[in-house]
């Protein structure tokens, strides 16, 4: 298959470019490229990666809960004034969100890219599973991202600001975020991979962070996007998904009942893409708008990625055949097979 016509290949090129920009931005442009970006867009900056221009709105949310809203509530001040910075951050986030919608997760996020590439390595090592997680497990995991958003991004920081919990819980999500460790390690800095003995809280949080970082790496080799499934950014995106211009649209046909390839292709295991037969907008809360379901839909225009009203990528039977063949070839030819001395597999044209 011509790589230039393969949406997954195009997406990986975009993901790699975004990763380089966001993790090593200042090394490419200028030292303060990151600062320039964050100076213009105060809601979007990762303060832990000195060389990067990582985009994460969760840091300011936590700081604003802790240092602004919590402080205002504790001192009996004007709550609207305390909320103002958060509203500005949210406004900036929504402005960008309208442009990309949840495609930030599937096309831009460095942590998502890292997990995808780990999974590719897992496939080549022959560790790949045909299906990722079963429906029950997926269903049980879905509320976790909402709990993390509510408690770790807003709840504990707010309580720390008010004074109900200790200040080590002022930015608890950042303290456990694998991206903090990943982006700093990617820059050759080990200062974020630590066990912190300063207090019981920091000890517990740092143990969780390090353990989860290792766990994520190992799981990503066999399970698609393990951390994305519990990422509060996914939940935050889900809140505003009706505002975004890029959407996944389905024109269901009776044939959909008997297929289900779209759900199997989905890296987030969203079975509803297959089962939904009424709604046209199928940008579900876990969707990252990667477009993989569209690629693996065999019926013309049944699934589409649409920007506003314009289709940008539509399901097509010819594309499906070529893409499926390329995928089968990719999955069959593993290093394990090569090491065993088995001949390279070829897929017959259908």
């Amino acid at each position: 298959m011509n790589p230039l016509k393969n949406l997954s290949v195009i997406r990986k090129v975009v993901q790699l470019a975004a990763l380089v920009l966001l993790v090593y931005g200042s090394s490419i442009g200028a030292y303060y490229l990151a600062d320039k970006l964050s100076g213009a867009l105060p809601a979007l900056s990762c303060a832990y990666d000195l060389n990067g221009s990582d985009l994460c709105t969760l840091i300011p949310f936590q700081h604003q809960m802790d240092h602004r809203l919590g402080e205002v509530i504790a001192s009996g001040g004007n709550i609207l004034m305390g909320l103002m910075p958060t509203l500005i951050t949210l406004g900036t986030f929504v402005l960008l969100f309208v442009v990309l919608n949840k495609a930030f997760c599937g096309w831009i996020c460095p942590l998502g890219t890292f997990q995808e590439f780990l999974h590719l390595i897992g496939q080549k090592l022959g560790l790949q599973r045909h299906e990722s997680l079963n429906a029950n497990m997926v269903e049980k995991m879905r509320p976790i991202k909402w709990a993390i958003l509510a408690l770790l991004v807003f709840g504990f920081p707010l309580m720390a600001g008010i004074g109900w919990v200790n200040h080590d819980l002022g930015d608890p999500f950042c303290k456990i975020c694998p991206s903090r460790i990943l982006t700093t390690l990617a820059n050759g800095e080990t200062n974020q991979l630590y066990v912190d003995t300063a207090s019981t809280t920091t000890l517990v949080i740092s143990l969780i962070a390090d353990f989860m970082f290792g766990l994520m790496i190992a799981l990503a080799l066999t399970v698609r996007q393990p951390f994305c499934r519990i990422c509060p950014m996914l939940a935050l995106h889900a809140v505003f998904r009706k505002l975004g211009l890029l959407r996944l649209v389905k024109n269901a046909t009776p044939r959909c009942d008997r297929c289900g390839l779209c759900a199997k292709a989905c890296p987030m295991d969203i079975k509803e893409i297959h089962t939904e037969m009424v709604k046209r907008d199928v940008t579900f809360e876990d969707c990252t708008l990667c477009g993989r379901c569209v690629e693996f839909c065999r019926d013309k225009d049944v699934l589409q990625l649409k920007y506003a009203t314009f289709p940008v990528f539509s399901a097509d039977s010819k594309y499906f055949k070529v893409r499926k063949k390329a995928q089968t070839l990719w999955e069959k030819n593993t290093l394990k097979r090569l090491i065993k001395g088995e001949p390279e597999k070829k897929v017959k044209a259908t």
Binding site: A30, Y31, Y32, D35, K36, S38, G39, A40, P42, S45, A47, Y48, L50, D66, H67, E71, G122, L127, Q128, R129, H130, E131, N134, A160, G161, G163, H167, G170, I181, T190, N191, L193, Y194, V195, D196, T197, A198, S199, T202, S206, L207, D210, F211, M212, F213, G214, L215, M216, I217, A218, L219, L221, T222, V223
Partner: protein, 266 residues
Amino acid sequence: MGNHVRALLFTCTMLSGLPAPVLHAQQAPGHQPEAPMANQHRRGEKKPMIANAEGASVTLWAPDLSTQPARIEQGEISLPKTGVDNYHAMVIEQDWGRYKEALVQYIYRRGKPSKESPMRLVNAEKTTFEVVPAPLPRGHYHYYTQQEWGFKLRFQNKPLANLPVVLETENGSRIESQANAQGEVTFLLPDDFPGIVEGERDRRNADFTVTAEHVDNGITYRSALNAEYRINQSHWQSLDMGIAVAGLGLLVGGFIGRAKSNKGGK
């Protein structure tokens, strides 16, 4: 926030006319120790103070390179408001005729987004002879002990090579070095805070200065960069344990992945 406002005392011998400046910092008179919870919301700007200020001029550079003079009243420097956030530069200059001295300190101020990169401010010629941070720590980054940080010497906005440079800390350390051909010099910030207890968080900070002297056309220029440094977190954060715990996560993840692969996958 009045009780939370801290002050620095710049006892600059340059301002008292002595040839060798020794900069150190101390709390302003009347400073009260802060309760742990009260400390967590401290956002007040540190108020610089200056001794023997006669004849000294203080200029505040905003991120957009606009400048405003600052007032000195009874040794306390009142920096004018600029209304914008980001790094500002406070430049103290003293002209003794054939002996000119300058001290630069970068100060982060809150306000509306300045929409300017600090690089612009750092690169701007703020005084004839200047010690420039390369880079300026930003965001969650600060000068920490046991870390190497770079500085550049710049005279009339051009690099100045091979000059001796001295780093002195408030805790009494003194390190001498020499700038390279590009005017760059690197210092390992000394781990010189007294009474550090391993395993316990220590949020103390102190000031350091990087000073150099240059003679041009019979005029002696002495310049210093003043900044705050903190205790390295490695005293209570263990990388080795971090690696071990991440390794444990890897093992558990590998075990789970292997079990799932055997159960349901190819």
